[in-house]
């Protein structure tokens, strides 16, 4: 089991660089980028860099409970919410997304600094973040497909669907994350393999979405 876990872990870690490659390709091929593209590219590139640092610099020096995860999840959620707010092209919805993002960031920081810990899994903000992304994705999919006159960007649909599937499915794991991470045995490996597979599919799907978005 550990052997398979290690293989999947390695593939999962390297898969984070796939969207980075697609972003680099898009940046070279299509010079003009919108604010929405920039936000998404930033999300992908910064995640790729963080994973690289974790993989090659911090590997073996940090344990399962580290501050990187908490900070990263707050930034990721905020960026995804803003991205979803932007792609609907509705100012009101973007403003609402922005407001929700600010509230979410405050909640995340409060959890880290008060009842939670920077080195612990902050289940509340993590779960709420995923829940917000899922709700926002459902709304965005509905909005993008509601107009039958204006054609929608297929890339945006793929990206939103990816966010929806990933957040909904990883939300269940996130609810039990504290318990899962405490078990350094086959149970942890089993669940974590599931999480890594989800991450792997997420990265492949995100790459496809980014490629499709500019095609």
């Amino acid at each position: 089991m550990t052997k398979y876990y290690d293989i999947i872990l390695q593939i999962g870690l390297y898969s984070h660089q796939l969207p980075v490659i697609i972003v680099a390709y898009n940046l070279i091929k299509y010079r003009s980028t919108t604010i929405t593209d920039k936000l998404l590219y930033f999300l992908v590139i910064y995640n790729g860099i963080v994973i690289l640092i974790e993989q090659f610099i911090l590997f073996g020096r940090i344990d399962n409970f580290n501050p990187i995860f908490n900070i990263q999840s707050i930034i990721d959620t905020g960026l995804i919410l803003l991205f979803l707010g932007l792609i609907t092209n509705k100012k009101t919805y973007f403003n609402l997304s922005f407001f929700i993002t600010i509230l979410f960031c405050i909640l995340g920081i409060l959890e880290i600094t008060t009842w939670g810990s920077i080195s612990a899994i902050n289940t509340l903000s993590n779960s709420i973040g995923k829940f917000l992304v899922a709700i926002s994705s459902v709304y965005v999919i509905y909005q993008l497909t509601s107009s039958i006159i204006t054609p929608f960007n297929k890339g945006y649909i793929v990206l939103t669907l990816t966010f929806l599937f990933y957040t909904i499915l990883s939300l269940i794991i996130a609810l039990f994350e504290e318990i899962i991470r405490q078990n350094d045995n086959s149970f942890f490996e089993k669940i974590w393999m599931l999480q890594i597979t989800l991450g792997l599919l997420f990265n492949v799907s995100i790459s496809f979405g980014i490629w499709l978005m500019k095609k």
Binding site: I141, Y142, I148, F165, I168, L169, F176, F187, I191
Partner: protein, 279 residues
Amino acid sequence: MAYEKIIFQAIILSMIFLIILILSFLLIIRQNRYRRISERESYQLELKNKELEMLNAVVLAQEAERSKIARNLHDEIGAILSMAQRNLTSTLKTIPKNDSLREDISFAIDVLDQSISNIRSISHDMIPHFLVKFGLQKTLHRLIDQTQKTLGNPCTFITELDENLQIDQQQEIHFYCTALELINNVLKHGHPSSIQLFLSKKENYIHLKLEHDGIAISQADFEYLKSNTEGIGLESITHRLKLISGELLFQRFAKGGRIELAMPIRTTNLLKNEKIELS
């Protein structure tokens, strides 16, 4: 451990449940979208049919008006002029041969003759009597004969159509009028020395090919002219093409050009089956 197993099973089951939930949501959105698209398409089709119906009504009214004017010209003005001509001819017979008035009356008779001929020609152009009486093939053949006389060079008309082919009369008139307008335009602007006309049936389409050796225009030129000029002839061609669901293709060669006109055959008029009255 037992609780770990329960958690694992709960996670897997929840995931399956949520996947089903998301897929159902997507399926509902997809169905809803398809339903609205099909509703929009049927609405557009209905709108297009209404537009065609209106266009047809306008053209029919125009044809009826033209028919009335043509009939009046031919039957009334033409008859009056013929009577005047006959009277003058009788008067001429009574005038002595050396009278100077004789020359004036002869001139008046010639002018009247020319006027009668012009009125007949105008009334025949306004409503294609010959087409209504003898059908498309014979009318086109006659048209080519007339064109040959005008140009003074041999012009050909080849037909592969079955003589018994039944075409809806309205459609036949629109097709002929479009062809007539095209030939007139070629003669007027192209200055050809001769023209060739090929009439055939391809699948369910009547296909007319007009080849000439004059100045030709390309499809792009036609599209440009269509949207940038206000010529009555072009407008008439466009309207008639819409009514018969016809297609027009222009080709320009090094010398001369080709115009292809195609129309799906309708045996009965889908919009309004009205017959043009012969005067």
